[in-house]
């Protein structure tokens, strides 16, 4: 079976671009706080969702709707409605993180396929199986803290499909368990669907030296001519002890393209591309590249060498936790 490419779409135009570029599956979200890319100008209203799902289905692609923030106490109805609307829009599955919401979806929408979001950080086989048994989850998106052998070990112990990230922004913390962003800005991935939000970013150019601040904290300084990453907290530059450096993670993005054969051997079903906040140009390029890679693998051809560096943050790439030395 050819590995499934799961591609992001922040807008209907990006979704159409992904379908045309050969994405097997596209994931997207409603234009509100119910999904973890609640950025200005992004996402789908109900009509756009219905039309986009129809477009994808006409072309043989699937659509997954991410409802992967943690419902706010007192306002769960907003999230419940999102699940119901995803089903009525014809979504092939919903991607959920919150246990309470999974419980709700399993009870009230039993026929709507449920995937476990990376935001739930199910990092071992016990957890994967527990979510499957408890909430009927059919696929788990594994957190980006695992090495390839650990992924293989999980797949050896479960029947549940696994999906892993292969390209794009990289969380260095266990996903869904990080409140760095709300500590500095008051807005968090779990509660608001944003991390290091643009509304709290300021750039200051001092004669070509570009300071990036988040919530008033200067966390990156790019010298003239150097690449300028977005000031995401965990990839900022800090001082501790005698050292000033990217203490948590360098401003790199994940590219596990060359690890695809190993991931297939490890039993992974689907390869996920990060970047619902990115343009249709990005989507087209990345999907085409990865589609080519999985098709080559399927046909027994050598893996094509990628040319995706320019699309990545700080223009530098890492294979992240997939190689154990990352830790």
């Amino acid at each position: 079976m050819v590995m499934e490419i799961v591609c992001p779409a922040g807008t209907p135009a990006a979704l159409r671009a992904a379908v045309k570029a050969g994405a097997h599956t596209i994931y997207c979200g409603f234009a509100d706080e119910t999904n973890a890319r609640n950025f200005p100008g992004l996402n789908f209203d109900r009509v756009e969702m219905r039309d986009s799902v129809a477009f994808a289905h006409q072309h043989g692609s699937k659509v997954l709707v991410a409802i992967n923030t943690f419902p706010r106490a007192g306002d769960e109805a907003i999230w419940h409605r999102a699940v119901a609307d995803a089903e009525s829009c014809g979504a092939d599955a919903v991607i959920l993180a919150d246990a309470g919401l999974l419980d709700y979806a399993a009870r009230h929408h039993p026929n709507l396929r449920r995937h476990l979001s990376v935001q739930a950080a199910a990092a071992n086989a016990d957890m994967v199986n527990f979510y499957a048994e408890t909430f009927g989850v059919k696929r788990v998106v594994l957190p980006r803290v695992l090495s390839v052998p650990e992924i293989a070990a999980i797949n050896a112990e479960t029947e549940v499909e696994t999906e892993v990230f292969v390209f794009g922004g990289l969380c260095v913390m266990a996903e869904g368990r990080c409140s760095l962003s709300s500590y500095a800005t008051g807005r968090s991935p779990n509660m608001n669907g944003v991390c290091s939000p643009a509304s709290h970013v300021e750039y200051h150019d001092h004669n070509g030296v570009l300071d990036a601040q988040l919530g008033g904290y200067t966390i990156h300084r790019a010298q003239k001519g150097d690449a300028a990453p977005y000031p995401t907290l965990c990839k900022g530059c800090f001082s501790a002890g005698e050292k000033t450096d990217h203490l948590f993670e360098d401003p790199v993005s994940l590219n596990a393209e060359q690890l695809i054969p190993q991931l297939q051997k490890a039993g992974v079903t689907a390869l996920k591309i990060e970047g619902r906040q990115r343009s249709r140009s990005y989507v087209t390029q990345v999907v085409r590249n990865f589609r080519e890679a999985v098709d080559a693998l399927e046909d027994g051809r050598p893996m094509p060498q990628g040319m995706l560096a320019r699309l990545s943050e700080g223009q530098a790439m890492t294979t992240g936790a997939y190689k154990k030395t990352w830790r």
């Binding site: 671009a17 100008g41 643009a198 750039y203 790019a222 690449a227 300028a228 249709r280 390029q285 530098a316």
Partner: protein
Amino acid sequence: MSQTSVSVPRCPPLLAVPLRAVPLAPLSASLTAFSRRIATSHPGLYRRLGDYANTPFVIDPTDLPLVILLHPGNGKPTITLTRRPVEGAARIAGPLAALLGLVHGGFDGDALFFSRDLVIEGDTSASLALRNAIDDAELDLSEELLNLTGPLAAPVHRALLLLERRTGLYLTRPEEAAW
């Protein structure tokens, strides 16, 4: 880890230099009319702008001797060209090629930003909303222009394609991105 870079073409002086002398008021009026036409044909653009549908943007093509002040005006946009520095809630600066490439979906905004071909100042959130709204609108400025030119459409189209080839600027929506 790997590093690469791709260069964004600079606007040829042949195009840029005359702009130093051209009177800007009539040009501003034409662009305003043009932008209103686009606003009417792409209402979704304003819905996506959301909270920023009335936010003044300064668009600064760094290889041209002017800046563009865009007032989205809740669906009734105004474009003012000026050679003097102006204030806006957000400023987006970069070579004309980068800006046109963004509009036409030929370039990825984040990638241009990471490589510092694009510089963003002021309200980052507003810039992001504008970028995302434009990306979804799938604009083709040449096509919009041709709709205006009526009987001249065919020769204008040929001229635009020639200009596109010569300059490397994205004047139309490409079938696919360049890289």
